[in-house]
């Protein structure tokens, strides 16, 4: 079930130099939100934009829903101008979301790149158990929410491209080291959100280790509700190749189902 609703800005704060958290009052949408789902946001400030912008749900508390975003283009730039009491139209919650009912023997392993940590934090808050978060980024300023995860009782390992925080290199480096050291009967299950390269790398490890990996795909979107077929991803469903809609059938796919092309 999705809704369309005008949200009122009730919070808009910087998170480090490059990211912001926008909190909207959305009494209809917020209570429906599940980790891994997203909203489709329209900005009155951006008169001439025909497309909404998709953002993962970072928090949903009562009537309030937050997203965590980075300014990359004109839509996100215009979002920066949103002030308290401004409104923005929201369609959501959209997409399938992460599976939440894990077998009790499973250890959740989250892998985040950049703002990909947003839906994973929502996931961690909704999970009854704890696990480990691997978080990567270009530099220290791209490593968000590590302390918040620790506060929830999660282990956190950090990797940055420039070595300014945690290990230097890709986040999969840290992941590989950890996997190597795993006890044989451990049952890690992966949940990843970040750039395609990272998702694919996580998926490869899951498949070769015979584990499950839930990947949150990032695709340019038109409608966001499954109508336009702009966002398709080649997948294998019950053995058959088909085109899934990332917005509706995803954005979360199990690694085995995804057929990566070039």
């Amino acid at each position: 079930m999705m809704r369309i609703e005008n949200g009122t800005v009730v919070g808009h704060d910087a998170m480090g130099p490059d990211y912001r958290v926008l909190t909207l009052k959305l009494p209809e949408v917020a209570p429906l939100a599940k980790p891994g789902q997203f909203i489709h946001l329209r900005l009155a400030q951006l008169h001439d934009a025909v497309l909404r912008r998709p953002f993962s749900i970072y928090r949903a508390d009562g009537n309030h829903l937050s997203i965590l975003y980075k300014t990359v283009g004109r839509g996100t730039a215009s979002m920066q101008n949103l002030r308290l009491n401004d409104t923005a139209s929201v369609v959501g919650p959209l997409g399938n979301g992460f599976p939440l009912d894990l077998a009790s023997s499973v250890t959740p392993v989250l892998i985040a790149g950049g703002y990909g940590v947003a839906p994973l934090y929502f996931l961690a808050r909704k999970m009854t158990r704890r696990g480990i978060l691997f978080i990567g980024g270009a530099k220290a300023a791209d490593i968000l929410l590590a302390d918040e995860f620790r506060a929830l009782g999660w282990e956190v390992q950090v990797a940055t491209d420039d070595g300014s925080l945690g290990v230097k290199g890709l986040v999969t480096l840290a992941l590989d080291a950890w996997l190597q050291a795993l006890v044989p009967n451990a049952q890690p299950e992966f949940f990843a959100c970040g750039p395609n390269g990272m998702l694919k790398a996580v998926g490869d490890r899951a498949i070769s280790g015979n584990r499950k990996a839930w990947l949150s795909l990032d695709r340019h979107m038109g409608c966001g509700v499954g109508a336009c077929l702009a966002c398709v991803q080649k997948v294998r469903l019950s053995g058959q190749e088909t085109l899934a809609r990332v917005c509706k059938d995803g954005p979360i796919f199990e690694a085995r189902d995804v057929i990566w092309e070039d």
């Binding site: 999705m2 329209r42 025909v50 340019h220 409608c223 509700v225 966002c231 398709v232």
Partner: protein, 304 residues
């Protein structure tokens, strides 16, 4: 007195002249949580071909000033897939169902039409002779008078349903295309489809869309579409369904004054899913304000 909005267009009865355009509203269920389908005049479903079709590679869509370019490539589940998967849902709703059809050959167009003839709950066929995104058929059919005539006649021969050719915008003389459709048995016309267009990533120097080019839709094309509707209305007597960049009742009313009997909302469904409903309300308010009792009074009412 509340003005009445219901119309009968090419024999299709609709509670109002506002439809949602092919390719922008899926097959019905996609927007059903947000938009009460029973309030719409009609849905035109995404283009259907004989067999399932995969469409183009991604990226398939890019936003540009005042619109977007799409090159979906007519991905669809085929006639049987569509009927099996979506018609049960659509039959439960109170709105006209217009099926947009296409083929890679003349024979395919005719065959698709034949397959839909007599299917319960389908009110008309819209013939897409103008999709800029399928090379094998689509585009080329709609840009010469001869092939336009052939497709329309071929479909006409295979169905008793009302048929509605959907014209290409990138022609010099839209009136001639409208006329050739009318002469070959079209019951109404849809105009217009999106414009051939292209965007290039200046960093990579590659086209942004995998298909190289696509079709431009959205507010950018509205003033061009109004002119084409105005010209087509001068050329034919059959009713016109106008689309291209409608975002408000005002845009729809312009089309109706210029010559359209009905309108369809396309790209604006993405921007604001409630657009079609807003157009219906705005149209009713406008008619009331102008003391018109029936929406038909607006059609072709331009004062020159």
């Amino acid at each position: 007195m509340t003005p009445t909005l219901d119309i009968t267009l090419a024999g299709i009865r609709m509670k109002n002249p506002v439809m949602v355009a092919s390719g922008t509203f899926g097959y019905g269920p996609e927007y059903a949580d947000l938009v009460d389908l029973d309030k719409l005049g009609a849905i035109v479903v995404k283009g259907i071909s004989l067999e399932p079709w995969g469409g183009n590679k991604t990226p398939r869509m890019v936003e540009v000033s005042g619109g977007l370019i799409n090159a979906i490539g007519l991905q669809n589940p085929g006639v049987a897939g569509f009927i099996g998967k979506y018609m049960p849902f659509l039959r439960k709703h109170d709105l006209a169902v217009i099926v947009n059809i296409w083929g890679k050959t003349l024979e395919e167009y005719a065959e698709v039409a034949a397959r839909f003839d007599g299917v319960e709950g389908i009110h008309a066929l819209e013939i897409n002779i103008s999709c800029p995104n399928v090379k094998a058929g689509g585009s080329s059919f709609g840009t010469t008078l001869e092939s336009t005539a052939k497709v329309v006649a071929a479909v006409r021969a295979k169905t008793k349903l009302p048929i509605i050719p959907k014209l290409a915008p990138n022609v010099s003389d839209i009136g001639a295309f409208a006329k050739v459709c009318e002469d070959n048995g079209a019951d109404a016309l849809s105009l217009i489809n999106s414009f051939p267009a292209m965007a290039i990533d200046i960093e990579t120097r590659r086209p942004i869309l995998a298909n190289i080019s696509g079709g431009l839709s959205g507010p950018a094309i509205h003033p061009i579409a109004v002119k084409l509707v105005y010209e087509a209305a001068k050329a034919v007597k059959i009713p016109l369904i106008a689309l291209g960049g409608i975002t408000s009742a005002k845009d729809a009313i312009e089309f109706m004054i210029a010559g359209a009997s009905a309108v369809a909302v396309g790209t604006a469904n993405f921007t604001e899913p409630l657009t079609a409903l807003n157009v219906i309300d705005g149209l009713r308010d406008y008619l009331a304000r102008k003391n018109m009792t029936r929406v038909q009074e607006l059609v072709r009412s331009i004062r020159i």
